[in-house]
């Protein structure tokens, strides 16, 4: 069990906000932190990792207290057994893939784990390459397994897939899922991609302006549980066009753009940029705001 209670004043591009969160993560749980940028998602990860100090708060992982502002406990990052995967990979350019991985090892003899992880993400062939010669997806795979070599108590992923294109992102989501199932480490995944939320997480925390405004299973949050759809996609409204009594809604789903009709009544509070679920019940597609 991981307990996080933290408060910190932040200056963001939208002005100052007061980050104030209190949540727990069960063993083996993967939660996503979801919400608009500038809401404090990354700061929460950095506070757990020990890269940023909360103004006030308490962070406990298992039996160990990592931070306690009242008792003046603040373990340095090196003593917190974490894995941190950054958005920008952060591989060391002076080392090969293998050297990057070896650098992360505490016990230099633990080469079996390196071999297993390299195999898991299909990078064994590339182990002697320098990071600069790898593609974005390959780099992020190396970063993922490098982080795991520390045998972490908590796995922190800060929008690890946001700089990859859609196809690669889907592939790496699957790999993260495999890795997560293999190690079952409590994981916090920061993202602003809804498909990642649905695909990966057991639970979702929605963070807005430094506060957790909602939490629950993705299905509960987005209210799709009580719908029986044949297919369901999450997308973004690109255009609303009035055509007699109907509204033609252009929705972007992943890399595809599709048009769906809705009645004026349904669409009256939709605006461009809204997140929606497009689904089909038997024959006719239905579109709902999430």
């Amino acid at each position: 069990m991981i307990k996080v209670k933290a408060q910190k004043k932040l200056i963001t591009s939208h002005g100052p906000i007061n980050l104030n969160v209190d949540f727990q993560i069960l063993d083996q749980e993967l939660i996503t932190l979801f919400g608009p940028s500038g809401g404090g998602k990354t700061t929460i990860l950095r506070m757990i990792a020990g890269l940023t100090d909360p103004d006030e708060g308490f962070i406990q992982v298992g039996e160990e207290v990592w931070f306690d502002s009242e008792k003046k406990i603040n373990k340095p990052i090196q003593e917190r057994q974490i894995s941190f995967v950054f958005q920008e990979y952060n591989l060391f350019p002076n080392m090969t893939v293998l050297e990057n991985l070896q650098y992360a090892l505490k016990d230099k003899k633990d080469t079996a784990m390196i071999a297993e992880l390299l195999e898991m993400v299909h990078l064994t062939q590339l182990k002697n390459r320098k990071p600069e010669t790898l593609s974005g997806g390959q780099k992020q795979r190396v970063a993922l397994i490098r982080a795991l070599l520390r045998k972490p108590k908590i796995f922190l992923l800060d929008e690890p897939l946001s700089s990859l294109d859609l196809e690669l992102r889907l592939k790496l989501q699957d790999e993260i899922h495999i890795i997560y199932n293999r190690f079952k480490i409590p994981t916090i995944f920061v993202t602003h991609d809804l498909s990642e939320v649905f695909k990966l997480s057991n639970r979702i925390l929605i963070l807005e302006q430094g506060k957790i405004v909602r939490s629950g299973r993705p299905g509960e949050i987005f209210g799709e549980d009580n719908l029986s759809g044949k297919f369901k996609f999450v997308g973004t409204i690109l255009e609303l066009q009035k055509d007699n009594f109907l509204i033609i809604v252009t929705v972007q789903i992943g890399a595809n753009v599709t048009k769906v009709v809705a009645t004026e009544e349904e669409a009256h509070n939709w605006v461009v940029g809204d997140r929606v679920i497009v689904m089909s019940k038997a024959f006719n597609p239905i579109i709902l705001k999430v």
């Binding site: 990792a49 890269l51 350019p93 650098y103 070599l149 520390r150």
Partner: protein
């Protein structure tokens, strides 16, 4: 000896500045990544930062060297100019010009020019190679 110490002081800014720039431009996120892997500040400095700012280190060293080779003012003030011991190229040139011995002065200048050119050329070649491993 005094001359060496004085030169060190005088050339210090030339070595410190490139290295400082190297440290400053080094991505902080890479340092954090190293800490996040449980590495201490020392380990991070030795195994991540220094190997990656080699170009800056090299620039610093060679700048200081090239600067010291053409040293003039410090030598005149402190070491004097003892032939075969503390006389530097630029002082030798100055001496020959004073003596209206232009042929010798030109010759010395040519040597100094060739040496400094060679050093800068070397610096650029190595730097370009070293930079390849970075970025």
């Amino acid at each position: 000896m005094g001359l060496v110490i004085a030169s060190v002081f005088f050339s210090l800014p030339f070595i410190v500045n490139p290295i400082k720039a190297g440290f400053e431009s080094f991505p902080k996120s890479l340092i954090e990544a190293s800490y996040a892997l449980g590495k201490s500040r020392w380990q991070t400095l030795l195994r991540v930062i220094l190997p990656n700012i080699k170009p800056s280190l090299l620039t610093g060293v060679i700048m200081a060297f090239a600067h010291t080779i053409g040293e003039f003012g410090v030598v005149l003030m402190i070491g004097g100019s003892i032939p075969g011991e503390t006389r530097t190229a630029s002082i030798a040139i100055f001496g020959e010009v004073e003596a209206l011995n232009y042929a010798n002065a030109n010759f010395y200048s040519a040597i100094l020019f060739v040496i400094s050119f060679a050093i800068l050329f070397l610096l650029n070649t190595i730097n370009r190679k070293a930079f390849k491993t970075f970025s």
